[in-house]
Structure formats: structure tokens, C-alpha cells
């Protein structure tokens, strides 16, 4: 085994050195790569599909928006039952005793019913007495009454119809819900809900947690993503909109979502589709550590010696030259 030795002089003793211009190489590399990047940029441009707004969602699929808002009030939406870091309504993902999702609690508190429905409606009711009355009715009702209205309304929504952008359901006892939802939909279609959710009572804002969580609870955005092959079960992590290359370096990370046990409900040793995010993060952490530790892992570190690629790279070394100046160390 040859170690480095104290200095390069010792390491390279007896090795023939040839001129090599590193600075010229890096300058040529910068120029060359720059030319390639400029040509690609000029000819192919880059992906920039405009973002979806709540307004667009409310206009294109009002029933889905109202259904989502109803589920927020009912506590049955994804965000309402998510658990940490938004609330404590759900357990989150775990693998046996490993449950890091719960460790830090609700550090980004989101009360779905209030945040996505009640508070925006309260702001919108400033000069709208009908809405104000509907809200008072809602706030003054018992939990049982609210549940009854939500159940009935939730059952009626799949058969709802849309006319002039408004959602109509079959006649039934829904309490103040139709008035509340009609107003929420109107505010949303006008772009007001985008504003109310992102501003959230402030003025300056760079945090889009609330509008994104709300959109994620619905089906409109995910439907568009599905068409663009961006969803998890479509290897979506490595894909890009349009015909552009995506994050190809994520191939191994996204691959695990497509294979057993992470694509199965029953799974294996407690790993399944339900805790796939956690399981895959643990797996990828181990694999990345293994990559870093390749120099110390038998078999993995010996493969290069057995695969003759190095013989191509160093062919001037392995095929002796006739020059008398060359000496092998």
C-alpha cells in the first residue's frame, strides 16, 4: 500500500512530468461552457408556466373550490388533518419509534377552518350585512348543528351544478353554508382570496404557506400537475413542464416512490405508501452516506480496480512508451 508520503515531491518521485497549463484550461472551459449555455438559452429558452391562482381555480372549477372550502370547515381536508407542523390533528408519518414529524410540534400553526374560510369571510363581511348575518348564525350554532349542515352540504356538492360561475345544490337544510360559500366563491373568483390568504392581515409578505396549502387541499392544481407528469407516481420529481429536462439528478430519489414497498399499502417491515416520504428520506440518507464513505467500504471501493475503465483513462501508463525518459515508480 502506498501512502501519500510527506510531500508531492516524494509521491511523484521518478514520474515524468509534462507541461500542462491549468489556467489556460480553466479559461477555455469558462469560455466554452459559456458559449454552450448562451446558445442553449437563446435557442431553447427556459420553462416558465405562469402560476395558478385561486381566482383561476374558482373560475375554472367552482365546485371543487366550494368542496374544498367545505372540507376545511369540516376538518376533513388534507391540511386540517395533517398534524405537525401545521396542527396536532394528525399523527404524521412514522416508522416504528422513528417519528420526527412530531418532534417539533405545530411550529407553523394553521387552523384550516378559520384561516381558509371564516377569517376571509369576516373581512369580506365588512359592508355585506347578509354575509355578516350568515356568519353570526354559523358562529352561534352548536357543533352538532354545524356538523349536520356540513354533512348534508358535503353530500349534495358532488351533484351540484354551475351557472354563471355560481354553484347550485339541491334543496336541503344547509343552514348558512350556501350564503357563506357563495360569498367565498365570489371573493375567490375576483382574486380577493389570493390576496386575503397571502397578506393574512399584514401588508408586506413573502410567505405563501396559506394560499399554497389551500390550493393543495383541492384537486384543480393537482389535476394540472397530473397532465404535466409532475405527480409523485409519475416520477414527477425529475420532470419539468413542457419539453425541458428536469432535475435528472433526482432519479434515484423519485425511483423509490415507484417500487415496493413504497408503492404498496401493506408494504414491508412497516414501510409502505403511507410513510413513504419518511422511509425514502431515511433510505436516501443512508445511500448518500455510503457514497461519501466509498473509500472505506470493501467491494464498493474495489470495483474500480476490476472494471477496466481506468485502463482506458491511463492507457499511456499501462502501455509502455519507447521513450527512455519514462520510468515507472
Amino acid at each position: 500500500m502506498r501512502s501519500m508520503g510527506a510531500t508531492q515531491e516524494e509521491y511523484y518521485r521518478g514520474v515524468r512530468m509534462v507541461p500542462y497549463d491549468l489556467v489556460k484550461e480553466v479559461v477555455l472551459a469558462i469560455v466554452g461552457v459559456g458559449v454552450i449555455a448562451v446558445i442553449l438559452g437563446a435557442i431553447l429558452s427556459s420553462p416558465d408556466v405562469p402560476p395558478v391562482t385561486i381566482a383561476a381555480w374558482a373560475q375554472q372549477d367552482p365546485i371543487d373550490l366550494v368542496t374544498t372550502a367545505t372540507s376545511e370547515l369540516a376538518g376533513s381536508s388534507t391540511s386540517a388533518g395533517y398534524g405537525a407542523p401545521y396542527n396536532s390533528a394528525g399523527e404524521g408519518q412514522s416508522w416504528g419509534p422513528i417519528a420526527p414529524q412530531k418532534w417539533f410540534g405545530a411550529r407553523i400553526p394553521v387552523d384550516s377552518a378559520n384561516t381558509f374560510v371564516i377569517q376571509p369571510l369576516q373581512r369580506a363581511s365588512f359592508s355585506n350585512t347578509d354575509l355578516g348575518k350568515a356568519l353570526s348564525t354559523w358562529q352561534g350554532a352548536t357543533a352538532d348543528e354545524q356538523t349536520k349542515w356540513l354533512d348534508a352540504y358535503g353530500k349534495a356538492l358532488p351533484d351540484a351544478t354551475v351557472s354563471d360561475g355560481k354553484v347550485a345544490v339541491a334543496t336541503g337544510d344547509y343552514g348558512p353554508l350556501p350564503v357563506m360559500m357563495a360569498n367565498l366563491l365570489g371573493v375567490a373568483q375576483a382574486g380577493g382570496l389570493d390576496g386575503l390568504l397571502v397578506i393574512n392581515g399584514r401588508f408586506y409578505q413573502t410567505d405563501y404557506t396559506l394560499p399554497l396549502l389551500f390550493m393543495g387541499d383541492g384537486s384543480y392544481l393537482s389535476g394540472l400537475a397530473d397532465q404535466a407528469h409532475l405527480t409523485g407516481s409519475q416520477w414527477g420529481m425529475m420532470n419539468e413542464t413542457g419539453s425541458y429536462p428536469g432535475q435528472t439528478w433526482l432519479w434515484l430519489y423519485t425511483m423509490w416512490y415507484q417500487v415496493f414497498p413504497f408503492n404498496s399499502d401493506s408494504g414491508f417491515i412497516g414501510l409502505n405508501a403511507g410513510n413513504a416520504d419518511l422511509g425514502i428520506i431515511i433510505l436516501m440518507t443512508l445511500l448518500t452516506a455510503a457514497l461519501a464513505l466509498v473509500p472505506f467500504i470493501p467491494v464498493l471501493r474495489d470495483i474500480p480496480r476490476r472494471v477496466p475503465i481506468h485502463r482506458l483513462i491511463w492507457r499511456t501508463y499501462y502501455v509502455p512508451r519507447k521513450s527512455p525518459a519514462r520510468r515507472r515508480n
Binding site: G14, M17, S45, Q227, W235, G242, I309
Partner: protein, 49 residues
């Protein structure tokens, strides 16, 4: 470039054509780098130490 990409579906693998071109191109580029002759500096050789 904004039109949807076509996809190659092979068993459980589902890859977009642009991604396949990038990965295929990388393999080809590596093979070329292995095979292509590299300009050798013949003059000014000296032996270290």
C-alpha cells in the same frame, strides 16, 4: 419547447424524452472522453526529482 414532452414507458420506468436525452448524452460523452485521444505535450518533458 412549451408543448408537453413525450414519455418512454419501460416496465416501471417512466422517463421523459428530454431527460432520457440528457442521461443518454452523458453516457455518450463519457464514452467519448474515454476513447478520444488527448493532446500530449512532448517537448519540455522532465522527470520529477
Amino acid at each position: 419547447m412549451d408543448s408537453p414532452a413525450s414519455y418512454v414507458h419501460w416496465g416501471f420506468i417512466l422517463i421523459s424524452m428530454p431527460n432520457l436525452l440528457v442521461i443518454g448524452g452523458m453516457i455518450i460523452l463519457f464514452a467519448i472522453a474515454l476513447a478520444a485521444p488527448f493532446p500530449h505535450a512532448e517537448d519540455g518533458d522532465d522527470v520529477s526529482n
